[in-house]
């Protein structure tokens, strides 16, 4: 394996090994505590611009296969793992993780103390970093990091959103037959605005009984409003996606119009944040975010705890309770995980009910959306 070096904006400089792409790359350092699903995480567009430190100790064990993709490619800048396993063992595996990362120019950093990095992010917050398998000089890396734009300054949405509208045609994965379900007959038609949507969100919407048309982030609210009034669509879904929602001014403008037009809407993660911002409640940045598959979230109406998949660095402020009801709360830090707007057919969740990877008990939320738009 090649040597690799990482330099963090707090001055930390560490040597490690690398797999995947032989390159130099700048991104934001976050950690994810999921114990399974590295392929889904690496192909989740929400991680665009980030280096993901995996706290799971052994990575690569189950290789990579085509069914576990959450989009068409790897999106994160790179992955940082304690131990990389080139040799894999799983009946669905098709190739090694290394080959997958290589294909998309994505870096893998391994043989490094991930617990040290995790604790650093825990105490100092998410930070910018540079990794290289080519440059070993600390000063040179520092210069590269300083020249590079910070994550907030980059609009990754433009990179990851689809360029053309398309119809999504697949249901969820059948883990007995090891294939995707065909789309069931649709009971409603929706538009999903793609800010970097995870495939399984579309699968879940479809499986719940919605015909899903995916459209780019450069959408026009007027068109959607017209189509809604013509009963061509029953509702709008706002997807997850990477980066800071506050920089997405253009999208916020359009969403405001949709809100004013009383169109039924449902948002997940970035979509949830954009809805809040568009209602006038600016998101704030969490110290190190929520990334993993084990956070307890309380459903405030059923009083039940759902173990959820999480991936966000930003959060909606508590003041939004002025206009919305909190439907879900994170039991770790009491942050808002779900909202139902008081005078609008709109609700949203911060966590990831589509899981993939992660626990699936929140996927009833997709049916909630169908029920909302069928009304």
């Amino acid at each position: 394996m090649r040597d690799a070096w990482i330099y963090l904006e707090n001055g930390t400089f560490l040597q490690a090994k690398s797999f995947g792409a032989d390159t130099t790359s700048v991104g934001e350092l976050v950690f994810n505590t999921s114990m399974s699903g590295y392929q889904e995480i690496m192909s989740d567009p929400s991680y665009a611009g980030q280096f993901v430190t995996f706290t799971a100790p052994e990575i690569g064990n189950v290789g990579v296969n085509k069914d576990d993709m959450e989009s068409s490619r790897a999106h994160a800048k790179g992955m940082i793992v304690r131990k990389y396993q080139q040799r894999y063992s799983n009946f669905r595996a098709e190739r090694a993780l290394d080959a997958f990362l290589n294909e998309y120019g994505c870096m893998g950093i391994c043989d490094i103390d991930t617990r040290y990095l995790t604790k650093m992010v825990r105490s100092e917050g998410a930070m910018m970093m540079v990794a290289s398998s080519q440059i070993s000089d600390k000063e040179e890396l520092r210069a590269i990091l300083e020249r590079a734009p910070r994550i907030e300054a980059v609009n990754y949405i433009e990179e990851v959103s689809s360029k053309e509208p398309y119809l999504h045609a697949s249901g969820t994965y059948d883990s007995r037959l090891f294939c995707y379900n065909k789309a069931p007959a649709s009971q409603a038609k929706i538009v999903a605005i793609d800010f970097g949507v995870k495939r399984n969100i579309l699968n879940e919407l479809t499986q719940a009984g919605m015909a899903v048309e995916v459209i780019p982030n450069s959408f026009s609210a007027e068109t959607l409003i017209r189509r809604y009034h013509n009963k061509e669509i029953d509702g709008v879904f706002l997807s997850n996606g990477p980066g800071d929602p506050l920089v997405l001014k253009k999208e916020q403008e359009q969403i405001k119009k949709l809100i004013d037009a009383k169109i039924p809407m449902f948002g997940i993660c970035l979509g949830h944040q954009l809805l809040a911002i568009s209602h006038g409640y600016e998101t704030f940045k969490l110290k190190f975010g929520h990334h993993g598959g084990n956070h307890p979230v309380k459903n405030m109406s059923t009083r039940r705890v759902e173990i959820t998949a999480q991936n966000h660095n930003y959060n909606v402020p508590d003041t939004i309770e002025e206009i919305a009801t909190v439907t879900h709360t994170n039991l770790f830090d009491n942050t808002i995980e779900g909202l139902r707007y008081n005078n609008a057919p709109i609700f949203s969740v911060q966590h990831h009910p589509e899981a993939s990877p992660g626990p699936k008990e929140s996927h009833y939320i997709f049916n909630d959306f169908l029920n909302l738009i069928k009304r």
Binding site: L14, Q15, A16, F31, T33, S34, M35, S36, G37, Q39, E40, T55, A56, P57, E58, N61, V62, N65, D67, D68, R82, K83, Q85, R87, Y88, S89, N90, F91, R92, D111, I112, D113, T114, R115, Y116, T118, K119, R122, Y173, S175, R176, F178, G292, G293, N294, H295, P296, K298, R303, R304, V305, I307, L331, F332, S356, P357, G358, P359, K360, E361
Partner: protein, 1085 residues
């Protein structure tokens, strides 16, 4: 919902003695449960027959019954204590079975089940009900069929096809289960299963041999909140009982989609079975080629796996399950480790490896191939940052002289054979296979262990070649080697081999320190560092990244390190963990910071809230030393964990470590035969005459000089390994030929054997000036049976005061003469009214918990204070809650109350098929029980009942004595006859009895024709058997007889003294009220 107020008194049922399949994990869970319920303000009543448990300490429960876990006794306790509810899910299969049986008989009217209701237990435990529930859910199951007799079994076998799994219903640890490849094996297993199942039911199942096996540890509350605490993957594929499998957490070869499928299925299963408030374990099997997932079974209670999962993640399953059982929901509970919500799923950033610990060396006749019936007696757990490190640390933890993947001997065919055969050392043969050039594919074809694990072992073996003298000067190389978990000792071994230089473990340690490579410590924190850990539960790892070395941990107060006992095994089990836990409690009472060190996941000692700091590490010199470097403790207690820590005393002293209490020099003096003999002489004590032999001829000469019988054993062995009594030269010759390899380094010790002597055990504490005689116990079995296997009585039954006084005086002389500071155990033999010193151990003994329970003075706690420098008087005063300490005869001792306590040993013969149940100087018992009452006979009967050897009050008793014992036959026969038993005996014995005028029928030996003793036993005509034996009897009928009594559970006694005690019991147990339970608190107050 907060705690329930409608229940006040809760009965907790323990799991009884340590047996294969049920070990200290239920003391761990039960202790957590008692503590939790008490904190909530409930009145807790506890029943457990095992005195070596923390849970039965009188200060834990409000009312503690050390009584046999039997229906009629529990019923009496429920009535007497006004019990509102029972918690049967903390005491393993024992508790669950007794509660279910009582429920079905209507004995629990008005008593609520907590944790799991009877319907759920039935659905989870009854295989047919479980199968129906799974089919309702649409879960995939192996093809299977029930049988209640041999005919049904045979037709089921035909239908399903070989290989087949046979499982007996309602047995623990898969007792009565096995894999059959052909019809002969099948018939044998089916019969055994039908015999062992209390309901004569077996399940015959499609074999899933070679499939992958997983376990999910699940918790569910009354609001239907469900969490997975931990996933566990078995290294060994299906076909080996999970208790005997190497297991790893987390699961390593599942994608998220497969993992979530298993997670969802686990929750669905708990819902369907109806486990509303507690922890369960669900086992799955996955076809490695197709991914087909099958549900194997579920346990609606805490288990060995849940203890492992708790230790592996830091999440206290038993405590949380207890809270849920009394009304809380998960979101109302806080995670102690992080202070955040407990309603989450733990995540870990390390790999946990569990290795089972076997003791086949003690049962050479037992079948050593692993199968679906559990055979291991203990386990170790190791934590590392990678599988490689974790696995190699686990191998070091086992204490089977391994320092990693040590090489094994044998030609390639043999190596392949042992890779194919599931056995205790298969992982070593796998590594050896790679050394001999086998490929991953070839090894996989032999054993079906997942290739991922094989890759890791292959890589470790490949690295071995590169471990040469140069790595000691190469920081990068040596770090890499340490990161993969190679121990210093193993590195030294490999350098010696590869570079042909003389090198010790210490040289590797010094090289590491020079290069700045140290073991460093990481928290087990339930959350992979997402939150700060509040409780220091630590493991070591070598960091792959070169960072500034961790600062050593500084404490504000004095701190003491307690070294634990490692894996449970025969000779060293829960008793030693009990002592270590007591040391921690006593230090806490003194305001001293406690640091616990152990590698056994089943134990109370490794509960994170037993001590202030917990190190989960192999108990070997390297790992202990590194912790000492890191902690710099003010004292180290090596005397409480059995031989494991004790044997490190010298090495630790040599590096300047501060051993508390009795010094390494004293330990050495007591263990060194020559030095000790000199000591004995100087103090005018008496030892059986003895000698040393390094050749067969020498042994014969020595034995002749001493006179037969003699006791022979190899030097430097523990737990009575290969110790034997030989009665003549022939036996001695064959012993020297078969049993031992003798050399100048390992001579054979030959002692004059004191035949028919009475053996005594004394536990004492000394502060160097005064001595407290904790107890004088009289063994029921005569000298020659290992003290751990012998029943014993406290107080002695029939010794004169003068003799006891003399024993006390001698014990005092020894303690003060040796310079013991802390605990000491002495064994004496009384032979022809003379006192002989057999053995002195300046450490905690196996009997410490028993004595503590019986007398009310917690010996290990008192000893801990003494070891910290307090006077024995002050230390006793601190713990003398029952005001029993008195001074007479120049020693301190407990004033004995009216009760008599009997300790009886419990044996694994029914689990180790083929093993013979003869007692000898080699210890074979796995656990113990206590019987207590105001009368010797009743206490003995209770102890037998608790051990599963229920003495009948009438019927036919079979007698067979070896020639030497025949003169005692009339006495025994008369006792039985007077109590109304019909007697039958084999030829010689029958003649002796008849001649004495006692009616006794002759029964034929097996060789004498039919119907013979085998037939009448199988026909259920024998209700009790007394059969004495010597070295030769194992070759005769006795073997068959012993196997029948085992499988038919016929009460069985093998010594004259046990027979006498039984007769003493008979006159008391005739009426119904003999076994009236009484709480320990009542006995002591």
């Amino acid at each position: 919902m907060p705690k329930r107020d409608d229940i006040k008194t809760i009965l907790l049922i323990g799991s009884g003695p340590i047996v294969i399949g049920q070990a200290c994990e239920f003391d761990y869970s039960g202790t957590q449960a008692v503590k939790t319920l008490k904190t909530l303000g409930y009145r807790v009543v506890l029943i457990n027959s095992n005195p070596a448990t923390i849970m039965t300490d009188p200060e834990f429960a409000d009312r503690t019954y050390i009584e046999p876990i039997k229906e009629e006794i529990i019923a009496q306790i429920i009535e007497k204590e006004n019990v509102d509810a029972i918690l049967p899910t903390m005491g393993g299969q024992t508790a669950l079975n007794v509660a279910m049986s009582m429920h079905e008989k209507g004995m629990l009217e008005g008593v609520e089940f907590l944790g799991a209701n009877p319907e759920a237990i039935k659905k989870g435990e009854d295989r047919q009900a479980f199968k129906e529930a799974m089919m309702k859910l649409g879960m995939d199951l192996p093809h299977s069929c029930y049988a209640y007799n041999m005919d049904e079994a045979l037709s089921a076998a035909e239908e399903i096809g070989f290989p087949l799994i046979i499982r007996a219903s309602y047995t623990l640890a898969g007792g009565g289960s096995g894999v059959a490849y052909n019809i002969d094996e099948f018939k044998q297993l089916a019969q055994r299963g039908l015999d062992e199942s209390p309901v004569t039911e077996i399940l015959i199942e499609e074999s899933l041999l070679g499939w992958k096996e997983y376990e999910m540890e699940v918790i569910r509350d009354r609001a239907d909140n469900c969490i997975i605490v931990c996933s566990i993957e078995n290294f060994d594929p299906m076909g080996v009982h999970t208790g005997d499998s190497i297991t790893v957490a987390p699961a390593l070869t599942l994608t998220d989609k497969e993992y979530q499928r298993m997670r969802d299925a686990s929750f669905e299963i708990l819902r369907e079975i109806g486990v509303d408030t507690g922890g369960s374990n669900v086992q799955f099997s996955v076809n490695p080629r197709t991914g087909r997932m099958i549900v194997i079974e579920m346990n609606p209670r805490v288990s060995r796996s849940s203890a492992l999962a708790s230790k592996a993640t830091g999440y206290p399953i038993a405590k949380v399950a207890t809270l849920l059982a009394v009304g809380f929901t998960l979101d109302e509970i806080t995670n102690d480790i992080t202070g955040t919500a407990a309603s989450f799923e733990p995540v870990i950033d390390y790999i946990v490896t569990k290795l089972p610990r076997f003791t086949f060396e003690k049962f050479p006749e037992a079948e050593s191939t692993l199968s679906t019936s559990m055979k291991s007696v203990g386990e170790v757990m190791a934590i590392g940052r990678t599988f490689k490190e974790s696995m190699q640390k686990a191998l070091c933890s086992l204490e089977t002289d391994l320092c990693g993947f040590n090489p094994v001997d044998g030609d390639l065919e043999f190596i392949k054979h042992e890779i194919r055969r599931s056995n205790a050392e298969r992982m070593l043969y796998v590594a050896e296979g790679f050394r001999r050039g086998l490929s991953v594919e070839e090894i996989f074809d032999l054993c079906a262990i997942d290739p991922w694990f094989l890759y890791q072992i292959e890589e470790l073996v490949a690295l071995e070649e590169h471990i040469d003298i140069d790595v000691l000067n190469n920081e990068t190389a040596l770090r890499h080697i340490k990161v993969d978990g190679f121990s210093d000792k193993n590195i030294a071994r490999l350098i010696r081999k590869n570079s042909n230089v003389d090198l010790s473990e210490n040289d590797v340690y010094n090289a590491r320190k020079r290069l700045g490579i140290a073991l460093e410590y990481y928290e087990v924190d339930t959350c992979a560092a997402e939150f700060e850990a509040l409780t220091p539960y630590l493991y070591s790892s070598t960091n792959i990244t070169k960072l500034p070395l961790q600062q050593r941990r500084v404490s504000a107060t004095k701190k003491v390190l307690i070294l634990g006992g490692g894996p449970n095994r025969i000779g060293q089990g829960i008793e030693f963990d009990y002592c270590c836990v007591h040391a921690a409690f006593a230090l806490k009472d003194m305001g001293i910071e406690t640091i616990m060190y152990n590698c056994n996941p089943e134990t109370v000692s490794t509960d994170y809230d037993t001590s202030d700091v917990l190190y989960f590490e192999p108990i070997d010199f390297e790992h202990v030393r590194e912790v000492i470097d890191h902690e710099q403790p003010d004292g180290i207690i090596v005397h409480f964990g059995g031989q494991t820590p004790l044997k490190l005393a010298n090495a630790l002293t040599a590096i300047g470590a501060n051993i508390s209490g009795t010094s390494a020099k004293v330990i050495d003096l007591a263990e060194d035969r020559e030095k000790f003999s000199a000591f004995v002489e100087a103090h005018q004590l008496k030892q059986p005459q003895n000698g040393l032999a390094t050749t067969k001829e020498q042994a014969v000469t020595v034995a002749a000089a001493l006179g037969y019988p003699v006791l022979v054993r190899p030097s430097f062995v523990l737990g009575g390994r290969a110790m034997r009594i030989v009665y003549n030269e022939n036996e001695l010759n064959s012993y020297m030929d078969e049993a031992v390899s003798v050399s100048n380094d390992a001579p054979v010790l030959v002692d004059k054997f004191l035949d028919q002597a009475i053996e005594l055990d004394v536990d004492a504490i000394s502060d160097g000036t005064n001595v407290y005689i904790g107890s004088v116990m009289q063994h029921i079995e005569e000298a020659g049976i290992h003290s751990g296997d012998s029943a014993c009585s406290l107080p002695p039954v029939n010794l004169s005061d003068a003799l006891i006084n003399e024993v006390e005086q001698q014990s005092k002389k020894i303690a003060l003469g040796l310079g013991v500071v802390g605990l000491m155990n002495v064994q004496y033999a009384i032979f022809q009214d003379e006192i002989y010193l057999i053995e002195v151990n300046p450490r905690a003994s196996r009997t410490v918990p028993f004595v503590s329970k019986a007398t009310g003075i917690p010996l290990a706690k008192v000893a801990t204070r003494v070891m910290m420098g307090e006077s024995i008087e002050d230390a006793l005063a601190f713990y003398d809650h029952y005001r029993v300490v008195t001074t007479s005869n120049g020693v301190l001792k407990p004033r004995l109350k009216e009760h008599i306590a009997i300790k009886e040993a419990v044996f694994p013969f029914n689990k180790l098929y083929g093993a013979d149940l003869v007692l000898s100087p080699e210890m074979k018992s796995t656990g113990e029980v206590m019987g207590i009452s105001s009368n010797f006979g009743v206490s003995f009967a209770k102890s037998q009942m608790a051990a599963g050897n229920i003495i009948p009050t009438s019927g036919t008793c079979f007698l067979s004595f070896i020639d030497m014992d025949k003169i005692h036959a009339p006495e025994i026969a008369r006792g039985l006859h007077d109590n109304g038993f019909t007697l039958v005996a084999t030829g010689g014995t029958q003649q002796v009895i008849e001649a004495a005028g006692i009616p006794c029928e002759r029964v034929l030996k097996i060789s004498e024709g039919r119907p013979n003793i085998e037939d009448v036993m199988k026909n259920g005509e024998i209700h009790m058997a007394i059969n004495t034996s010597d070295n030769n009897t194992s070759k005769k009928d006795a073997v068959v007889i012993r196997q029948i009594v085992l499988s038919r559970k016929i009460p069985y006694f093998t010594t004259l003294s046990a027979a006498r005690a039984t007769i003493a019991a008979l006159s008391h147990i005739g009426n119904d009220s003999w076994n009236r339970p009484q709480a320990l608190q009542d006995y002591l107050n």
